[in-house]
Symmetry: C2
Subunit: 272 residues, 2 copies
Amino acid sequence: MKTRRSERLIDMTHYLLEHPHELISLTFFAKRYESAKSSISEDLAIVKKTFQQRGTGILDTLPGAAGGVIFVPTIRPEDARNYIEDLAARLSEQDRLLPGGYVYLSDLLGEPELLKQVGRIIAAKYLGKRVDAVMTVATKGVPIAQAVSYYLNVPFVIVRRDSKITEGSTVSVNYVSGSSERIEKMELSKRSLKRGSRVLVVDDFMKGGGTINGMEGLIEEFEAELVGVTVFAEAKFKGKRAVTDYTSLLFVEDVNTQTKTISVVPGNYFSE
Amino acid sequence: MKTRRSERLIDMTHYLLEHPHELISLTFFAKRYESAKSSISEDLAIVKKTFQQRGTGILDTLPGAAGGVIFVPTIRPEDARNYIEDLAARLSEQDRLLPGGYVYLSDLLGEPELLKQVGRIIAAKYLGKRVDAVMTVATKGVPIAQAVSYYLNVPFVIVRRDSKITEGSTVSVNYVSGSSERIEKMELSKRSLKRGSRVLVVDDFMKGGGTINGMEGLIEEFEAELVGVTVFAEAKFKGKRAVTDYTSLLFVEDVNTQTKTISVVPGNYFSE
């Protein structure tokens, strides 16, 4: 059954959103909708224009016999900024302050809408860079890694501090935990990362950067390549950080346990 | 600027897919597209028909002044079955067998496409049931909980075996770990779950059901309500399981460490 343009546009939009960063041939759509390639081309031009106008993303067209389209999700810089500013206000809520000056984040990192936006914002930072895998450390980094992985359409791998038998053989490194200055160990399942992979590291929170530094060490052990580091939030840190080149969405500027106030502002994502 | 129907359909599809289970008023769309409500109604009728034909989901229409539409993602039973059968074949791959008869799953649980499908399949099981939160235990259950949470558009909470200071006050329970028969402890941040919440429990793997049983205990402690339990895979278990009422997508029928073979078939999701 031939489809009408309106139906094609709806289903095509769905299909493209579900398959970001994937080359989809005109032939695929022509078959799916039993329509001429010329009609499909016209459909895609409309989708492209609408995605651009609404800030949904870029629809790249590759001409030729092996050609097709690739949907690259993006976010308008002003939308990203507004979203992060709202988040900064939420993080500054007084009742998030925990003993020891920690900030409670677990509820936020379980909200699907927040994770989608954060994933989209982080992914948009690496537009045009090849990323083969997203890496994070268990447990709280996992939701962020998964969110980014959805938008980049690449797998994510989870580094663990307590490896389980269900991981099989692992490769481990030691690292200096910034907050406690202890030597700790982290491991990654041997078969989870191919040599030469280009890896994006994400995490929920960074203080001294010791954990991130450990992941960088693991990437070296796997003979893989670091594409970049982005954290959801960074805290102020006295002394020298173990990581200097990173992006943060939020910056916990000040925590005052006496007045019970937290001050959170947008991170360096916006200052570069 | 008034929009054309084609543009509206594309952006509306995107918006609905991003906001499942959310009541969206006709007024919202009418403003967003500077179009008459009658046009919006016509658009939504086309979206509804296409979503239905393609098995994308149900677009529920609520009439009246407070009305609007709610998009409920679904999956066609035959699509779910085909997908799970393919997964069973992948899980049966010989090189997934780990010492002790464990099955390596970590790579699969880091694939965005797989997680999307699994999230959609699990969410479809609870159509028409109110779910306020998805619960899982760290670490490997997290990707599944997040995937389900995206489709149900409700938050997920992570139970931990090793609570961190960053969780604030917690409520803990003891449980019997099925595989080792040891008494263990799991905890959940006190503020992560409201009293009376209706909770869906998910996990990656179930053997004796001790961990799931522990989560059920936590739900009681929080005076919350259990909606159901779904696991990605269940293993054969000799003896009495701590949990009897559950759904599994996959069933690890047999693991033979001598012949190094694993036999995985679809779980009871399809036999109910």
